[in-house]
């Protein structure tokens, strides 16, 4: 009985409420990220990208002031992300939802974006389907198939490898990486000798690496989340003699981020990775970005999260300029569709069909340059789209 | 004594802890209405024997029979439900519960209504009244609604007994009911024992020989884990072996 009464009251009050109570002179951007917990570093780096962009471009666009409201999800919690998105919309009256380091959190919030008709800028979450969950979702990061399908093809065609073993972390992104690399590789004519999945919080890789060694592949393809695992798995491979040039190591770029390179040392030489952002890429825009970023963050180098946040803010700024300050979701998403610009990572654009990012995929190899280890670009594959959109 | 009359019997009960044989081939019989005392010097294995009979320890050999049924493999709680209940030498109570609650709990368990999670406790009126009556019998009526931990030590010893009585025992094993209680109060405790209904058989451990001789109809003397002698008090009192056992160890009474 109480329930009926509550429900009736709830509906009555809810319908009578309007959401137009936001100030006209500010554009509020609600940023939802896992600032605490195991993914705090991703949030931290992404947030630094946002801050850098705003420091460089001011907080005024189209006559309005940009205000960022930050919310912490505390880890991969879709229910919290969804609630925060809802609260940002109904309580704080935000115009734009942004952030989203993790796929489940982006999926949780997408429904709110759809229902409240707010632009949702996905600055990292890298599963293809994310942008399909809300017509207002736009992605400025990368998708895993985008990088790895391309990489799989390259591995056979250019990398000179005919058979390989895959070893990925046992969670959504790992599964995506495994399937898209394998797809690209086998479509081009290669053969997958075997695939293993490692627990996400795996402290020790020796058993899996030994399994790889047993099948004696020409190459091993690795996908692990960033953080402590890249160095650990890299060292485990080399300890067992699975190292270039005898066995090629292919991976997504997390494996050779600067801290991992420092930890692995010379053993990292020859690892080939696929990525959309290369720290050392010789380009004035990139050099300026990296210098400013290091300056603002105690010499910490930017990574994929940073560039996702940075370009995400660029998209928000440019879209607002285009709409002349109109913050409605429809206007902003229209403005975002087809937008193209030069990012520190290279030329990128937003596919008007899928609202997903189109960008250059870089194939890099770890080499020693001037006494330090770097990811040296072997090949640039321009204008790559996510191969899964529309595929199912 | 014919075992046919015995309510409780043990047959060849033995138990060892490592190399130490604490119970050695003990066969005793407790007839209906018995008031038997279990005595012996420290370390004679009195409490161990109680533990074995009550089911808190498993014997290495031998049997426990209750009304002729072999209950050796039966769990403690099941023995209690069949009418074989013990008390503890060291208070084993529920510190935060009031005596009223504790005894009511025992009554509810006996009646099999302790699993009724859907009924408010207050609706079990009969159980509550019965437990209140038991507490009244033991002069605990005034403190029935105070937490057990606030009770005086002597009152806690009475509550030990009240919990056992609430199970409606047919055989009651009392492990030093007056342990640690001043002499005048311990007489009071034993007057409760004396006032128990005729049909309850009692086996009690007690060190105070005055009390033993006042209350026991027969005495079982344990020494080194085995039965030394079992007889009426007057015979036991004059038995030289008993004196011998008690000499050398601390004197009681």
């Amino acid at each position: 009985m109480t329930k009926t009464v509550f429900g009736a009251i709830a509906l009555a009050v809810g319908l009578g409420w309007t959401m137009a109570a936001t100030a006209q002179e500010t554009v509020k951007v609600g940023v939802i990220l896992p600032y605490s917990g195991p993914f705090a570093d991703a949030a931290n780096q992404l947030d630094a990208g946002i801050k850098l962009y705003m420091a460089q471009n001011g907080d005024e666009v189209a006559g309005k002031t940009i205000e960022i409201i930050r919310k912490d999800t505390g880890g991969p919690s879709p229910d919290v992300a969804r609630r925060l998105a809802q609260e940002l919309v109904v309580r704080d009256g935000v115009d734009i939802l942004a952030g989203f380091a993790l796929t489940p959190e982006a999926l949780g919030a997408a429904e709110i974006s759809k229902e409240a008709q707010k632009l949702m800028v996905v600055m990292n979450a890298a599963t293809s389907i994310v942008t399909e969950q809300s017509p207002y979702a736009v992605r400025t990061s990368v998708t895993i198939p985008q990088l790895n399908y391309t990489f799989g093809k390259w591995a056979f065609e250019e990398g000179g490898v005919t058979q390989a073993y895959t070893l990925v972390a046992d969670y959504g992104p790992g599964h995506d990486a495994e399937s898209s690399f394998s797809k690209g590789f086998t479509e081009a004519g290669g053969k997958i000798l075997g695939s293993d999945r490692t627990p996400v919080a795996n402290p020790d890789f020796s058993a899996f690496v030994q399994r790889v060694k047993d099948s004696n592949p020409e190459a091993v393809y690795i996908f692990v989340p960033g953080g402590g695992q890249p160095a650990a798995i890299g060292k485990a491979l080399v300890d067992r003699g699975l190292a270039p040039p005898d066995t090629k190591i292919f991976a997504q770029g997390e494996l050779t981020h600067p801290e991992a390179l420092e930890s692995m040392g010379d053993t990292a030489k020859g690892i080939i990775t696929t990525y959309h952002y290369t720290l050392e890429r010789d380009d004035p825009l990139n050099a300026e970005f990296v210098a400013a970023y290091r300056e603002a963050n105690g010499d910490r180098a930017p990574d994929l999260f940073s560039i996702g946040g940075y370009d995400g803010m660029h998209l928000i700024y440019e879209a607002l300029k285009k709409t002349g300050g109109d913050t409605s979701g429809d206007a902003l998403v229209e403005a975002a569709k087809g937008m193209a610009w030069q990012s520190p990572r290279g030329p990128i654009s937003i596919d008007p069909e899928t609202r997903d990012i189109v960008q250059t995929v870089y194939i890099r190899q770890v080499e020693e340059v001037d006494g330090s280890l770097q990811n040296v670009i072997l090949q640039e594959i321009p204008e790559v789209k996510d191969p899964l959109h529309g595929a199912n | 004594m014919a075992s046919g009359e015995a309510v409780l019997s043990t047959r060849g009960l033995s138990k060892r802890f490592g190399s130490l044989e604490v119970t050695r081939d003990v066969s005793i019989d407790l007839p209906r209405g018995a008031r038997h005392a279990l005595i012996g010097p420290n370390g004679a294995g009195k409490t161990t024997l109680i533990n074995l009979i009550a089911g808190d320890l498993k014997p290495d050999a031998g049997h426990v029979l209750l009304k002729g049924d072999d209950i050796t493999g039966m769990a403690t709680a099941a023995r209690v439900r069949r009418g074989l209940t013990r008390t503890f030498q060291i208070n084993t109570l529920f510190p935060a519960l009031t005596p009223l609650e504790a005894v009511t709990l025992a009554v509810c368990e006996r009646e099999g209504i302790a699993t009724q999670f859907w009924r408010n406790l207050a609706t079990h009126r009969e159980a509550i009244d019965e437990s209140h009556a038991i507490l009244g019998q033991l002069a605990l009526g005034d403190v029935a609604t105070r937490p057990t931990r606030e009770l005086a030590y002597g009152q806690q010893r009475l509550l030990e007994m009240a919990l056992a009585l609430a199970t409606k025992p047919k055989v009651l094993l009392l492990d030093e009911p007056a342990a640690g209680v001043p002499k005048d109060e311990s007489a009071m405790l034993f007057s409760v024992v004396a006032a128990l209904p005729e049909e309850i058989s009692v086996l009690f451990i007690e060190h105070d020989m005055d009390i033993v001789f006042a209350f026991a109809s027969r005495i079982i003397v344990l020494a080194g884990g085995g039965v030394l002698i079992e007889d009426v008090p007057s015979v036991v009192a004059s038995d030289p072996r008993v004196r011998e056992v008690y000499l050398g160890s601390a004197r009681h009474g």
Binding site: D41, S206, A207, F208, E259, E262, S263, G265 | -
Partner: protein, 287 residues
């Protein structure tokens, strides 16, 4: 296949020894002092950060960074023990749980504040890198080093607790505080020393772990589960138990992942539950 078996056993044993060094300190404090210190992993994290900082900022060699980590964790823990933990010895286990969880939160935030959220790589000296090749087998040098360290710690602890005056005092203080006090043993100080020892070992374990599992502010929480598993399986207060338990879990984990990767992630938990159902006190537990 035999060669692989050897290498899997070796890797598993080395991983187990890492778990051992991380957890043996908790086994000592939990088993001997009955204090549930869920912040044990936080002292491990402290040791890790101290070692990394000592090497990068102060240029300490690795072998000097290890005792530095031990000392730092031991010293900090004594401060905590004297000022805070000692009030909790009689406060009940739930309060100990809540308090030390709170400490884990605080330490993670402090680590984030001081060191940032990023990974802290450790750069080993050359002689600890690479592997030793025996026939067709390759043994990681660092893993050999880990095993050697763990064996040395075990020997020292077993010897120390069972053969020295201090060990006798610790055991006396634990068995019966009042009697120990009556014998003129300063129980307070014994507890402080024991706690420092336990936490120092955690710090040392943290420093050793960085190379294998990395280091960031979530370390304290993340490895808590593993540490608890080793302590429970080994049995409270037993150094030998922790050693055997850790070795068993390490080998089981690695072998399981190698031979049946499909259930690789369950195996350690399955072993935990199975062992505790058969031996609730752990393999070597007495109480």
């Amino acid at each position: 296949m035999n060669a692989n078996l050897v290498i899997v056993l070796f890797d598993g044993f080395a991983f187990g020894m890492l778990l051992f060094v991380l957890s043996v300190g908790l086994s000592v404090t939990l088993g001997l002092m009955n204090f549930i210190n869920l912040a044990h992993g936080a002292f491990g994290m402290l040791g890790g950060y101290v070692a990394v900082t000592a090497m990068r900022q102060l240029g300490f060699p690795f072998l000097l960074a290890l005792p530095t980590a031990f000392l730092a964790a031991a010293l900090v823990s004594v401060v905590f023990e004297r000022t805070l933990f000692r009030r909790l010895y009689r406060a009940g286990e739930l309060n100990q749980v809540l308090f030390t969880i709170g400490l884990v939160f605080v330490s993670a935030a402090a680590a984030t504040y001081v060191f940032g959220t990023g990974q802290q790589p450790i750069v080993l000296p050359d002689w600890l890198r690479g592997s030793v090749v025996v026939g067709e087998l390759r043994f990681g040098v660092y893993r050999i080093f880990l095993i050697a360290m763990a064996l040395a710690i075990t020997a020292l602890l077993v010897f120390g607790l069972e053969r020295t005056r201090l060990g006798a005092r610790i055991r006396a203080a634990v068995d019966n505080q009042r009697v120990a006090q009556g014998l003129g043993i300063n129980v307070d100080r014994i507890f402080a020393v024991t706690f420092a020892l336990g936490s120092g070992l955690a710090g040392l374990g943290g420093a050793l772990a960085v190379e294998i599992v990395g280091l960031d502010p979530s370390f304290g929480f993340h490895y808590l589960v593993y540490v608890l598993i080793v302590v429970a399986v080994g049995g409270l207060g037993s150094v030998t138990g922790s050693f055997v338990g850790a070795a068993l879990l390490g080998i089981g984990d690695v072998a399981g992942k190698y031979f049946v990767p499909e259930i690789g992630s369950f195996l350690i938990y399955l072993m935990l539950v199975a062992i505790l159902l058969v031996r609730p006190l752990g393999l070597f537990g007495k109480r």
